[in-house]
């Protein structure tokens, strides 16, 4: 268990391409931090820099208070789980688990005890003498995690470990990883592009974009109070409705005074848009719209509403199966308290003024 401190870290590839642009991040001991972002945002590069598989162009990374910039991966006392698992195909499962311990000269009895323990925790005892190619995807994934936990490292680094599994197994393994991390109490840095995985796993969620951190905090903080347009659109499925104020004005809608000056885009979560005026308490914006399509997801329905003058349709999340007809006119009610206002120029949040809300 160790802290990880990343200070003003940069990564520039030959040719001047800067993939990490001066990034600061501090990870507490025993914390499960998820780095999430679209592909190419630098999240994997950052993880690989922590692991020591990529050099650090500038800045400092410290694990457990020890600066590791010039240490070999082996000397950093971390363990990594790769997306393709990277199991040694010519060794048995047992061989895979033992390899790291053998290289460090661990006594035989200790190796056996640790392998046994890891195999018990991950329920891979029956496969210990099989080769990786004789295992299913989920079993390989477990072995990959086993190889990490036998070492008892200061920190685990997981690089999209579940993206090669089918949806059901992924959900199952997600719960297992969470449980395992809680039991072992080891610091875990987890990289994913799947925001659902990120939401459900993280103690601390770090949204990255273009080599920098957009926002960090608890998953609910990021979901409930996104500080930038990018985070607002990235978190949640479907993402937040982002409505261009200029288009809204051009269509003849008037915005209440509560919307602060300088707001270029207003955002609202699909579950915060209502069809019935009665369900809204407090002031709201009302937009005439036409329901164009409805997706029944089961427990809820997603309705796509076209608002005159807006280039994108507004998505509504309605609990249960929606009984109305598609292609009908309806009024959308957007409660002011649920509104997020963003500046179009900076992409950052413009705070709602409290007195205006009260009015």
């Amino acid at each position: 268990m160790a802290t990880i401190a990343i200070e003003n870290v940069r990564k520039t590839y030959p040719g001047g391409i800067e993939v990490i642009k001066g990034l600061d991040l501090s990870i507490a001991a025993g914390e499960l931090v998820v780095l999430v972002g679209p592909s190419g945002c630098g999240k994997s590069t950052l993880l690989r820099m922590i692991a020591g598989l990529e050099s650090i162009t500038a800045g400092e990374i410290a694990i457990g208070g020890r600066v590791v910039n010039n240490l070999e991966p082996a000397e950093r006392d971390i363990a990594m789980v790769f997306q393709n698992y990277a199991l040694y195909p010519h060794m048995s499962v047992r061989g895979n688990l033992e390899y790291g311990l053998k290289n460090r000269g661990t006594p035989r009895a200790e190796i056996d005890a640790r392998v046994k323990e890891a195999a018990r925790i991950l329920e891979i005892e029956p496969f210990l003498d099989r080769k990786p190619r004789q295992l299913s995807g989920g079993q390989r994934q477990r072995v990959a995690m086993g190889r990490a936990i036998v070492r008892k490292p200061q920190a685990f680094l997981f690089d999209e470990p579940l993206s090669n599994l089918d949806a059901k197994l992924r959900g199952h393994m997600r719960v297992e990883i969470r449980r395992l991390q809680r039991t072992l109490g080891t610091t875990l840095v987890y990289v994913t592009h799947d925001q659902l995985e990120a939401m459900t796993l993280a103690d601390k969620l770090v949204v990255m974009n273009g080599g920098a951190i957009e926002q960090q905090g608890s998953p609910l903080e990021l979901y409930g109070d996104p500080q930038t347009l990018f985070v607002a659109g990235f978190m949640g499925s479907p993402g937040m409705n982002l409505i261009d104020v200029a288009q809204l004005r051009a269509a003849g809608a008037t915005l209440p005074d509560a919307v602060p000056a300088g707001t270029g885009v207003i955002g609202i979560r699909p579950e915060d848009v209502f069809l019935e005026a009665g369900r809204v308490d407090g002031p709201a914006i009302t937009l005439p719209a036409r329901i164009e399509a409805v997706e029944m997801v089961g427990a809820e329905s997603l309705a796509y509403a076209a608002v005159g003058g807006l280039s994108q349709s507004v998505v509504l999340r309605i609990p249960g199966a929606w009984t109305g007809h598609a292609d009908t006119a309806a009024d959308l009610h957007l409660p002011l308290t649920r509104l997020h206002c963003f500046s179009k120029e900076t992409g950052r949040k413009v705070p709602l003024s409290a007195p205006a809300l009260a009015a």
Partner: protein, 302 residues
């Protein structure tokens, strides 16, 4: 043949209703195999049981006498020994150097392609040219290598020193084969996922340990394939190198089996003995290939 019980939708096989056409299409290949392989091989087997009179006018059937004589002949037993030494040395040298070069090139990020192209060139050199090239380099009178060696106190003369002759032959034969092995090793190395090496690095294995515990075992299918190819190369394709450099000498020190077949049959005109030797050679190849594919390949599976 039309209905094989399998759903026809799934097979991409084209079926000719004509009974003659398939044989007609196969005929050219069959003709080539028969004329250039089966027939000469058969001739060799037949000749190996015959003895010709000194004028080549008549021949008598002598059963296995050509074979028994061979194994009583110290020159032949010596040739067997020389061939084994030569094949082992060439295979070892060419594969070791090729692997070293491949590992070095595989570490390069940008110039790898250039080095690969340059390193492949020797393979395009005809064996006889390779032989002559090294013959010049090692020439005791005008060669640059004996000149350099003289500073180290080595008096190089492959014309009178059997070991020198053997070394020159091994160098020439290996040099040519390194390119071929190199290509296969580079391809083999590139097919090893990077993440495996990275995982091993995190698992605390240094570069040498990574090579011997991860890379080398994963290369083993390539290595064993090359082993078969190289042993066969050293035993058969090196004829012209021997012919162009040592001619089997001095005193039979480089008289490998394939050259002895030629020397006894074409130069010495002892067709019966030469044929028996080539039949033995053929058996050796068949046995080697069989053993290697059958037993060694099976253990390579992981």
């Amino acid at each position: 043949m039309l209905q094989t019980g399998r759903p026809r939708m799934q097979t991409k096989r084209t079926i000719f209703p004509n009974k003659v056409l398939p044989y007609a299409l196969l005929a050219p290949q069959i003709a080539i195999t028969v004329v250039f392989f089966l027939w000469p091989a058969g001739q060799a087997v037949v000749s190996s049981f015959l003895r010709e009179d000194p004028f080549g006018l008549a021949s008598t059937f002598v059963w296995f006498e050509n074979y028994t004589r061979l194994f009583e002949d110290p020159a032949y037993v010596d040739s067997l020994r020389v061939t084994a030494a030569f094949a082992i040395a060439v295979t070892f040298c060419s594969m070791t150097f090729a692997l070293l070069l491949a590992v070095a090139v595989n570490r390069l990020i940008r110039l790898g392609g250039v080095y690969t192209t340059l390193l492949v060139w020797p393979y395009a050199v005809a064996p006889v040219v390779a032989g002559v090239l090294w013959w010049f380099l090692f020439n005791p009178t005008i060669g640059i290598l004996p000149y350099l060696l003289s500073f180290m106190g080595v008096h190089w003369n492959h014309r009178i020193n059997g070991n020198h002759a053997m070394i020159m032959l091994v160098v020439a034969a290996s040099w040519k084969q390194i390119s071929y092995n190199f290509l296969f090793f580079v391809a083999g190395l590139q097919s090893i996922p990077r993440s495996l090496i990275e995982a091993a690095a995190i698992d605390g294995a240094g570069p040498m340990k990574r090579f011997w515990t991860i890379i080398f075992p994963l290369l083993s299918p390539t290595t064993f394939f090359l082993l078969i190819i190289n042993v066969n190369y050293a035993m058969f394709d090196t004829f012209s190198i021997v012919d162009a450099t040592t001619g089997g000498g001095p005193a039979g020190a480089t008289n490998i089996l394939v050259f002895k077949v030629f020397a006894d049959g074409i130069l010495g005109l002892n067709i019966g003995s030469s044929a028996a030797q080539s039949v033995i050679l053929m058996m050796i190849v068949i046995a080697l290939t069989f053993v290697q594919f059958r037993y060694v390949e099976r253990r390579v599976q992981y």
